[in-house]
Symmetry: C2
Subunit: 254 residues, 2 copies
């Protein structure tokens, strides 16, 4: 049974791409078949996977030109597969805008053989645009990385009410599957405050694994590597390996 | 002569809002009359200025209902004025989409008496949408905060080429007035690498003032205060006061 997860938060810079790339690599390490789909025209996940950003292969070309999925999907540097992005993705949003059932464009047009993958993970841009909404609808499950800081906490309340509105207005059935605390720096009071506020508000939705602030995580993408290949002994790598364990417990054994 | 500056970068979480709020407060401290316009539906600048996010006063209401600007502009906690935002701003984007000369909607409809202000500063959302493009066109000058990390560097190249394309296609004459290095942590190699790469590529566009990573800057907004009111002795406050000096040298005496 393929598990589909959209990594989303309209607040910028909270660690969506860092989470997408490193959880894909960590799940691949424990022998899961993982497809990471880069739905952000900025193509950060694509370059972190070691793929050139300006390749002619993205969801845009797939929807425009068709052809077998294997033509578009590439091998990432971390044993997982990636559906890369490029700047043409901006045009995909315009195309989706002019179709019926805009929110279900991916569900109606993205034909992935579920038997090929155990996990399909989307990296989304920092806005609740049609690319993000389509990824959420396609996956139904949303993982929300939240930096342990004030604005990110504010953003979560907005995201939750947007999802509730979409579900009511368009009968989409999207749910927040988990909230992941990122860039935690326990030397700062702010991290403690935001972290306990999240636990108070969102209770069992908050994942046990917390990703610490670790410069190795920021260095790895400039080499086109996941944290596991860049520095397996770092606290960042440890955190993502333990996150893959939590994924398996929470989503596979449910 | 009113100086207009749009603070923009489609890469998320690079310090756009932190820069907008604290440069507005720092310029107000040295007796400049400053209007900060929050053009991001997330309304982070609005809450950092001590104004409730769900007020009925944003560019959306101004364009829809009209009336005197004084009805919409509020006093911020830091001696500057703010044109707040709320989530209705998302609808403004749709309205702009359906007009002629979409990029000049703000220039054609936002009537601010330039004599009232020395500086008009826009805080933009993390995407190159019509709100951001309108703010860039209205101001002509763009300040780009860049976190000293890999993805932010990649994003800058995209932003520059987007501005060049807009200028050519729509004759807009937008220019990057300055690049501001943010969240610099000199203990990390990455900061040194990205910083020198920026200096190499963008030469005199890179501002001399560098904003250091300082947790006080992340704490201040949860109290609805600028860094000057929250902790005037912090390294964050020092950096923004020196940035206001560089603004005066570069933009006023230019
Ligand atoms: N735990 C961490 N420790 C240190 N640096 C981190 C961590 N997580 C992410 N970063 C760095 O912080 C920056 C923001 O992270 P990232 O780009 O993954 O966020 P994002 O939510 O995908 O941003 P966007 O909103 O632009 O898509 C990047 O430079 C990244 O390398
Ligand atoms: N110099 C700094 N030192 C420490 N923390 C900072 C600094 N600048 C910004 N921050 C914090 O980093 C986070 C991102 O900054 P901010 O929200 O200003 O970026 P942004 O570019 O406006 O984000 P968005 O793309 O969502 O609009 C915030 O939690 C902010 O408080
Ligand atoms: Mg990202
Ligand atoms: Mg912001």
């Amino acid at each position: 049974m393929t598990l589909k997860i959209a990594i989303t938060n309209q607040k910028g810079g909270v660690g969506k791409t860092t989470t997408a790339v490193n959880i894909a690599a960590s799940l691949a390490k424990v022998k899961r078949k993982v497809l990471l789909i880069d739905a952000d025209p900025q193509s950060n996940a694509t370059s972190a996977a070691g793929i050139p950003k300006n390749s002619e292969s993205s969801l845009y070309e797939y929807f425009e030109e068709g052809g077998p999925l294997t033509h578009y999907i590439k091998d990432a540097t971390g044993d997982y597969k990636i559906f890369p992005a490029n700047s043409n993705l901006v045009a995909t949003e315009k195309i989706i805008e002019n179709t019926e059932k805009r929110e279900k464009f991916f569900s109606n047009n993205l034909k992935i053989n579920k038997k090929d993958f155990d996990y399909i993970i989307f990296d989304c841009p920092p806005s609740l645009n049609l690319l993000t909404i389509n990824a959420m609808e396609y996956c139904k499950n949303v993982l929300v990385p939240v930096q342990c800081e004030y604005y990110a906490l504010e953003g979560l309340v907005t995201l939750k009410s947007t999802i509730d509105q979409l579900n009511e207005a368009r009968n989409l059935n999207i749910k927040i599957a988990g909230i992941l605390r990122t860039m935690a720096d326990w030397r700062n009071n702010l991290t403690h405050q935001v972290s306990s506020e999240l636990e108070g508000h969102f209770k069992e939705l908050v994942l046990n694994t917390i990703i610490p602030r670790n410069v190795k995580l920021a260095e790895a993408p400039s080499y086109g590597q996941s944290i596991l290949d860049y520095d397996i002994k770092s606290i960042g790598a440890e955190a993502f390996l333990s996150l893959s364990g939590e994924f398996i417990r929470r989503f596979e054994n449910g």
